[in-house]
Structures are given as structure tokens and as C-alpha cells.
């Protein structure tokens, strides 16, 4: 009666692997009814409100101390903020006033005040950025309401009798902090992004986590066996016996060194023992992720995705809005590299009138194809990037999913139209470096033809593998055929790097393969000089690179290229990585 295995994809929020039974915790709703009290009860309501404030203050003071001890400075500062807000005298006055003036119940007056604040913030509309602030305000409100209901301060703790993978719609910072670290194997939430409080605390605690899963809290039932792959943002529900065994081993071996090592490694170069230097870049989606990326030791951004703006607005964002985002990212990076990729989504994600769904979107109107069919959209985006670049910084432009020279030339023609129109009336505007993603086998096999037309390449391994082995990795029926170590993939990588190298054009890899420590030696040995990865992966990759010589890595790559099947190659790479860093994979 084995259940079928299902795979879900979310946002990788905290590194590591876990496997265990799920515990789904309910959403904490704070539906408060509008209620009035009798004249004689008003003073009592005000007193109840004041008592709740005092009790909540005591709670948070304790949480601050706890956070400082268990989560570190960043986690503590969240609660210090809550403490200050809870003591805001104007909030207290306003709520007490509203109880007195309108004979509101304390609950209703509290809820009304905080709901108003949240609504006002939401009207400001900086959605991802404000999500955290809303989370904070809602947390303060919930705490007051809990105390008004006579709740004990233990309300943050989720009772756990066994080791579980915790599944929730969302967790408040206090709930996340109160987690019993020894019993929470992993964390999965419907809501949140990689910069949410939940993600931050999970990383600080070294609990593997995947967030932004949408519906995981209803997809999973308590007791289901689930796998958390916090490195790739994948969740496997009811894994088959083989998968379960594999992840059990990975979970055992995965050693959380991130926090300890990150700070030591931050300012050391990613350089082999014999001085072969590589560049560590970050993949990001939002400018807000940059501070944390730099903290992890990123030397720049190798992939700035721009889809988010389109998806959030569900229509094309204005040129100014796009320019503002790019400028924001460039400012945060100072003079460091920023590679901006033009829109890389399929038509299916961008609803337009008259759009007929394609039978096979992966082989359909995606990425640069979508842009070339809507040249004004692409030109607006390029103009926005140039507008942002006029403020300085090392900004580069990258087209996704180029599959032929014609396509590249068409994209470049549109690019030239934009730069020509900008050139008029302004003094010698510089041309931004222009690169392409190599993620379609037809491009991988014609790097020599494409090289003269571009300044750099970046390999998108996710799609390259998918198109090479003809596997949709989210389709659980064929997912195990998705093999990054397939000899065909290795040969493609070797050739791309060699051919581009001969043409004098730099290559980075921004796909998941470069974020995965198992492949670091291979990629280093194949001659990769720019790793563009998820920020939390940087310290470990750096450490591995710093632990070998370039020759050792080259030997690993040569040996892997001589082997004939994906499984043996994967096992070999794992073993060599393990020999060098025994506590890892």
C-alpha cells in the first residue's frame, strides 16, 4: 500500500538534507469579532489590555535572551525590535483610547489597530520587502491577543514528542525560534522567500528548510514520510525505498559547517592550494538578497533574475520600475560585478489575452523566444538596464536560452536599436558587456560559432541537463533519469569550457550543479573559473577549493570523463569529495 512518490519544488532557504515523518501544524488565525462592552466594563477592558502588554513584554524579553543565546545577533535583533514596538506609548494610548471611546473589547481594539497598520503597509505595495514587516506586526498582534485570551507564554512552542519534519503554512519568528532544534529535522512552509524570517532563523539554526512551496501544508498529511532537500529546494513526499535510503545517508553525512565556516572564510579568496584562483558569484532574485550574499563571501552577482517583477505584477513592469530594481542591486554591490539576465519565463507564466496554452511549454515560447516575439518588451528591459547602468557599477547583460546564431543576432539587433537611440544627444555611452546562457544542446555544441558575437557565457545546467537527457525533473516518474553526471553532460561541459577558453571568452556556471559541493572538483578540474551559486553554498565550496590543488581537481575531472555511466561517476565524485572533506557529503 505504498503511496506514490511526489515531488514539490520551492525556494531553498537553508542548506542540508532531512528525512522523517511530517508534522503539519495549523495556521494560527486571529479572527476577532467586533464586540462592544457595557459602560461599566470599559475600565476592566483597559486594565486587561495593559496586563496583556506587560505579559507580552515579559515574553519578548525572555525571547531576546533566548535568541541571543541560540540564534546569534541577527535573530536577537528581530525580537529587540518587537520589544520596542510593544512599548510604543502611542500605540498603547491609541488602543486604550479606542476601548474607552467606542466601548470596544480589548481584543477588538487591538486587532483593529494592528490590522489598520498592516493594511496601510500593504497599500504601499513593496510586496517582498514589506512581507517581513507585516510578519513582525502580525506577530506582535498575535502575542497580545494570545495573552488577552489568557494564554500562557508557552504559546510559541510547538509540542514535539518525536523527531519530525515540520510543515506549516507559515511560521512566525517566535515560533521558529521556539523550535526544539533536536527534534526538528527540517522545515517546510507554504509561504516565504529566501529572505524571510523563517529562512533566516532556519539558517542560523542549521535546520534544512524549503519555503515558498505554495500548498505543502495541504499536500502533506501528518505522518507522511517526507524528504527535505534544502540545497536544491526540493521536497519529496512518500519517497520510494531507494530514494529514502539515499537521503538517509545524505542527511547523516551532511554536516552543517556553514555558519562556523562562513565567517572565517568570508575574506579568503577561492583559490586552490597552488594558487589557481576562481571567482565566487551569487545567484539572486531580489536586490535585498545581496547583503547576505556578500556576507557569505560572494564577490559579485553572476545571475540576477528579472522574472520576479513580471510575475509579481502579472504584467509588464514599467521601465522606471525595472531600472530602479537594477540600480538598487548595483548600489548594494558597489563596483562588484552584476550580471542581469533578461526575462526568462515561458508564456504560460505571463498571462496575455488570446494566449493558447502550448502542448509542450519547455519546447515552446520561453525565455529569449518570448522576448523576440515581443521585441518592445525586451527593448524596454534593455533600456531600463542601460538607464540603471548610467549610475555606474559593473553591470552586464545576458540573454537566456539562445539556441542559434540567428537568434543571438536578432537579440543583438534589438540591443543595438536601444543603444543607438540612447546614444543620441548623450556623450559616448559605453556598451555593456553582453553574454548568453548556454542551456540548450544546440548552443553548447556551437560555442565556437557564438563566441565571436558575445563577451561571455554562462551555463545553465538545469535546462542543459534536462534538454540533453530529455527528462523533466519535476515529473516523478522519470526524475531519477535526470542525471547531472551523465557522460553526455560531462562532455558538453568539457567542450563548452574548452572551446570558449580557446576563444578567450569567460564562462560561468549558474545552474544548480555549481552550487552542489559534489560537483565542485569536477567543475574546477574542467577549468571553470566562475562559480555562480546560491549564497549559502559559497563557504563550503570555497573551503573545498582551498583544500585541493588544481592538478588534483584536473585528475578527478579526467577520470570522471573516462567513466561510462552516471551512477559510477556520481559515486566517484562523492567519494573524492568525501576524502578531501570527510565531514561533508
Amino acid at each position: 500500500m505504498a503511496e506514490t512518490m511526489r515531488i514539490r519544488e520551492g525556494v531553498a532557504a537553508s542548506l542540508g538534507f532531512a528525512i522523517g515523518p511530517a508534522l503539519v501544524v495549523g495556521r494560527e488565525e486571529s479572527a476577532v469579532l467586533q464586540r462592544q462592552v457595557a459602560d461599566g466594563e470599559v475600565a476592566g477592558e483597559v486594565a486587561r489590555f495593559e496586563q496583556a502588554c506587560a505579559a507580552a513584554e515579559a515574553d519578548i524579553a525572555r525571547l531576546c535572551e533566548d535568541a541571543g543565546r541560540r540564534g546569534g545577533k541577527d535573530v536577537k535583533s528581530i525580537f529587540e525590535g518587537h520589544f520596542a514596538h510593544l512599548r510604543d506609548p502611542f500605540m498603547r494610548q491609541e488602543i486604550a483610547g479606542s476601548i474607552r471611546r467606542y466601548r470596544r473589547s480589548a481584543e477588538y481594539a487591538v486587532s483593529r489597530y494592528f490590522r489598520q497598520k498592516i493594511r496601510k503597509i500593504e497599500e504601499e505595495g513593496h510586496a517582498p520587502f514589506m512581507a517581513r514587516i507585516v510578519e513582525d506586526i502580525a506577530d506582535i498582534e498575535r502575542r497580545l491577543l494570545r495573552h488577552l485570551a489568557g494564554g500562557q507564554s508557552a504559546g510559541d512552542a510547538i509540542r514535539l514528542d518525536d523527531k519530525v519534519v515540520l510543515v506549516a503554512h507559515n511560521l512566525s519568528p517566535a515560533q521558529t525560534l521556539a523550535l526544539d532544534r533536536d527534534r526538528v529535522l527540517g522545515l517546510l512552509t507554504d509561504a516565504g522567500g529566501s529572505t524571510s524570517h523563517t529562512a533566516l532563523i532556519a539558517r542560523a539554526f542549521g535546520i534544512p528548510a524549503v519555503v515558498g512551496l505554495g500548498t505543502i501544508s495541504s499536500d502533506v498529511t501528518s505522518g507522511d514520510l517526507v524528504v527535505v532537500n534544502g540545497n536544491q529546494g526540493l521536497v519529496i513526499i512518500n519517497p520510494d525505498a531507494d530514494t529514502a535510503r539515499r537521503y538517509q545517508a545524505m542527511a547523516r553525512n551532511f554536516y552543517i559547517v556553514e555558519r562556523r565556516r562562513a565567517s572565517e572564510l568570508r575574506n579568503l579568496p577561492a583559490e586552490t592550494k597552488d594558487g589557481y584562483r576562481v571567482e565566487m558569484l551569487a545567484n539572486i532574485e531580489l536586490p535585498e538578497e545581496i547583503p547576505s550574499a556578500l556576507e557569505h563571501g560572494a564577490e559579485g552577482v553572476g545571475l540576477f533574475r528579472t522574472e520576479f517583477l513580471y510575475l509579481r505584477e502579472q504584467h509588464e513592469p514599467s521601465e522606471e520600475e525595472q531600472a530602479r530594481q537594477v540600480r538598487d542591486a548595483a548600489d548594494r554591490l558597489a563596483q562588484r560585478k552584476l550580471v542581469v539576465r533578461t526575462i526568462d519565463i515561458g508564456m504560460d507564466k505571463l498571462p496575455a489575452e488570446g494566449w493558447i496554452p502550448e502542448r509542450n511549454p519547455f519546447l515552446g515560447t520561453r525565455a529569449i523566444r518570448l522576448s523576440l516575439q515581443h521585441p518592445e518588451m525586451l527593448k524596454t528591459q534593455i533600456r531600463a538596464i542601460y538607464q540603471a547602468a548610467s549610475g555606474g557599477g559593473d553591470i552586464r547583460l545576458m540573454f537566456p536560452m539562445i539556441s542559434s546564431l540567428e537568434e543571438l543576432r536578432e537579440a543583438k539587433r534589438l540591443h543595438e536599436e536601444v543603444t543607438a537611440s540612447l546614444g543620441r544627444g548623450r556623450s559616448a555611452r559605453r556598451q555593456l558587456p553582453l553574454g548568453i546562457m548556454v542551456e540548450v544542446p544546440s548552443a553548447a555544441l556551437t560555442v565556437d560559432l557564438l563566441a565571436p558575437e558575445v563577451d561571455f557565457f554562462s551555463i545553465g545546467t538545469n535546462d542543459l541537463i534536462q534538454y540533453t537527457v530529455a527528462v523533466d525533473r519535476v515529473n516523478e516518474r522519470v526524475a531519477d533519469l535526470y542525471q547531472p553526471t551523465h557522460p553526455a553532460v560531462l562532455r558538453l561541459l568539457r567542450d563548452i569550457l574548452a572551446v570558449a577558453g580557446r576563444a578567450g571568452k569567460p564562462v560561468s556556471i549558474c545552474g544548480e550543479m555549481s552550487s552542489d559541493l559534489q560537483f565542485t572538483l569536477l567543475l574546477l578540474g574542467l577549468g571553470l573559473k566562475e562559480f555562480s551559486v546560491v549564497p549559502p553554498a559559497i563557504p563550503d565550496i570555497k573551503r573545498l577549493i582551498r583544500s585541493v590543488t588544481y592538478d588534483e581537481a584536473k585528475q578527478v575531472a579526467e577520470r570522471a570523463l573516462q567513466m561510462s555511466d552516471a551512477r559510477s561517476i556520481a559515486a566517484f565524485l562523492r567519494e573524492r569529495t568525501h576524502q578531501i572533506l570527510p565531514e561533508m557529503g
Binding site: S77, I78, E80, G81, H82, A84, H85, D88, P89, F90, M91, K117, K120, I121, E124, H126, F129, M130, R132, I133, D136, I137, E288, I290, P291, D328, R332
Partner: protein, 91 residues
Amino acid sequence: MPTAEREVVIRNQLGLHVRPSAQLASTAMRFQSDVWFLLDGQRVNAKSSLELLTMAAVCGTVMRVQAQGSDAEAAVAAIAELIDSKFGEER
């Protein structure tokens, strides 16, 4: 009644999130004067950290700080200094 006013720009990367708004309110609280921020036609009480949070001021937001009272000048200077220091979050 003495008044003082100055333009300030939020420069810390995370904007006026939980901690900076609390710092601003406690700084404003040290002065006798009434202190406000003016943004998009709104007037926000600088001594209320929750009100400040509600401004949703992201990095790059330009606003005015205004004070009225015996120590208005000093209040505006202290607020501006705190904002310029990026709340000690970055160098």
C-alpha cells in the same frame, strides 16, 4: 515656538524595518519637541515606532524630518545623524 526641518534619505539597505524604526522613535523620544516625518503628504509621529514602521520606507526613500519645540534644532540633527549612520547596520 522654534521649529527645524531637514531632508533625509534612507540609506541602509533594508530600509526602515523593525529595528531602525525602534531606534528612531527612541531617539525622538529623548527630546521635548514634537517630531514628525513628512512623506507623500503624510505626517507621521516620529516618537511612535509602529507609526514609523507603517511608512514602509525602503532604501532610497526621501523624506523630511520636522521638529517643533525648545530643542527642535537638536532633535532634527540627532534624527538625521542616526539615519545617515545607516543605523549602524553597515559601513
